[in-house]
Structures are given as structure tokens and as C-alpha cells.
């Protein structure tokens, strides 16, 4: 087996194993750590697919930002990390059936489909080409992404505003003291 295949199978094994742990782990914090491992493995797959820029973006956004946010969320809702609480619902059997069935269908059709493989050379994947595409062919989606991010930002701010959100330890339905009162007191 050549190095490339070896790298692929190693990464595939890492991703699949980590992904299984993500969905089955009893401790949600462990799930988050396995998720990070799986996402890092996906970055490795991007490298194999000659998309190093995308790999870096994957690590920056998923590992550095999204996973971290999830860990913060787990922190805020800490009691759920307790092992004694059940973490799966009654649909385990159905879920297994559905996902395995889906997998069978997809994999069967994948191996049946002849894909139009092209052997043309790839431009270097360091981002320059992506930048040009972003600002020429994909200008509109590019700008819309900024609007989407703005929407997400405003949404998050509105939902998680300080006068709506209380510290975890405080009893529900008691408004926080105003900052000014705090200073005066």
C-alpha cells in the first residue's frame, strides 16, 4: 500500500471512530472532544484532496470557534454532563435502522455511478485562486455571507442579551440588578 492510501485509511479510521464516539459517548464534554478530533481528521482529508487552504479554514473555524463555543455552551448547562442522566432517547433502534438503511442506499448508488473523472491539473490551493473566485464569480454569495453573519450576530445578541440571560446559579425569574445600582450599592 502506498503512503497516500495509508494516510487516507488512517484519517478515515480516525474520523469514523471519533464520529461514533461523538454520537454514543455518555459524557457530552467527551463528545465535544471527539468532535474536535473528527473535525481535525476532516481537515487532514482536505489536505489529501489538495485543498490546504480549506483545511486551515476548517481548523480555524470548526476547532477554534465552533467547538469552543459548544464547550462553552456545555459549561453553561453543566448539569447535563452528569453521567447519571440518559443521553439517548427511545429511538436508538429506529435511528440505527434508518441510518444503516440510508448508508446502504448511498454506498450502493455511489459504487454504481460512473463519475466523470477529470485528470486536469489543479491550481495551487493556497487561497489565491479562491480569493479571485470569491471576488469575481462568487461576489454575490460572498456579500450575502456577510449579511448572513450579520444576521447571526444580531440574532445571537438579541437572544442572549444580558437582561434576558441570567447566571446559571441564580433562581429563575429574578431580574438582574441594573449596573448602576450595583455601583451605587
Amino acid at each position: 500500500m502506498d503512503t497516500f492510501s495509508l494516510a487516507f485509511y488512517a484519517l478515515a479510521f480516525l474520523i469514523i471512530a471519533a464520529a461514533i464516539f461523538v454520537v454514543t459517548s455518555k459524557n457530552i464534554f467527551h463528545s465535544a472532544i471527539y468532535l474536535i478530533l473528527a473535525l481535525f481528521g476532516v481537515a487532514g482529508i482536505y489536505v489529501l484532496l489538495q485543498a490546504p487552504f480549506l483545511a486551515a479554514a476548517q481548523v480555524l473555524i470548526y476547532v477554534g470557534a465552533v467547538s469552543m463555543l459548544m464547550i462553552f455552551a456545555i459549561m453553561l448547562t453543566a448539569r447535563i454532563a452528569d453521567d447519571s442522566i440518559r443521553h439517548t432517547n427511545e429511538q436508538v433502534g429506529t435511528g440505527l435502522l434508518v441510518s444503516l438503511g440510508l448508508l446502504a442506499v448511498i454506498v450502493y448508488s455511489l459504487w454504481q455511478t460512473p463519475f466523470p473523472i477529470s485528470a486536469a491539473p489543479m491550481p495551487e490551493g493556497a487561497g489565491g485562486t479562491i480569493g479571485r473566485l470569491l471576488l469575481t464569480q462568487f461576489v454575490l454569495p460572498f456579500e450575502i455571507v456577510s449579511v448572513l453573519l450579520l444576521g447571526a450576530l444580531i440574532g445571537a445578541v438579541v437572544i442572549a442579551q444580558k437582561d434576558k440571560v441570567r447566571g446559571v446559579s441564580e433562581p429563575p425569574n429574578t431580574p438582574l440588578p441594573k449596573p448602576a445600582e450595583k455601583v451605587a450599592g
Partner: protein
């Protein structure tokens, strides 16, 4: 790179996607559901980049779309986790099977 071709990547992607589906269906915890969704997003991204690599290597369009997907996933995670926080405030828990205020 003999041996490893487009189909291998797509198979990997399918496996990860189905693990994500399983997690999404069976997790009780809202954050766990979100993690499963992130797995599914990543599976889709693998297909996009794999197609970009093997079907249209001359243009990197697939990679650009994958970047957009990552951005959308991040935006989704931001809002979803803010909602999780709100649900936690309201219910003192984030068991999605017990969150039923949308039913009425």
C-alpha cells in the same frame, strides 16, 4: 495515487453522514444534536471538495462552495447555541424531547 479515488472519499462521507443522522435521531441533548449536525455538514463538505478535486480540478469552485458551507454552519451554530442557552434558561435543562412549546 493508485487505489484511492473519488468513490473512496464519497464512501467516507456517506459513513460520516449516516453517523450524524444516527446521532441526530437519538441524542436527547440539544448540544449533542448540534454536534451530530456538524458531523453531517462536514460529510457534505468532504463530498464537495472531493468532487472539486476529481471532477472539476481546473476550477476550485467546489472549495469555494465548501467555504460558504463552513461559514453557514458557523452562523447556524452561533444562533443555535444561543437558542440552547435560552431553552436552558426556560426549562432548566436542554433535553430536546421535553422541549414542546412549539407544539401548541
Amino acid at each position: 495515487m493508485a487505489g484511492i479515488g473519488l468513490t473512496h472519499y464519497l464512501t467516507l462521507s456517506a459513513v460520516v453522514f449516516c453517523i450524524g443522522v444516527f446521532g441526530m435521531l437519538t441524542r436527547r441533548n440539544a448540544i449533542g444534536v448540534l454536534m451530530s449536525i456538524e458531523l453531517m455538514f462536514n460529510a457534505v463538505n468532504i463530498t464537495l471538495v472531493a468532487f472539486a478535486r476529481y471532477v472539476t480540478p481546473a476550477t476550485v469552485t467546489g472549495q469555494v462552495v465548501a467555504i460558504f458551507t463552513i461559514a453557514v454552519a458557523a452562523a447556524e451554530a452561533t444562533v443555535a447555541l444561543a437558542i440552547v442557552l435560552l431553552i436552558y434558561q426556560h426549562y432548566r435543562g436542554i433535553d430536546v424531547d421535553r422541549v414542546n412549546f412549539m407544539k401548541w
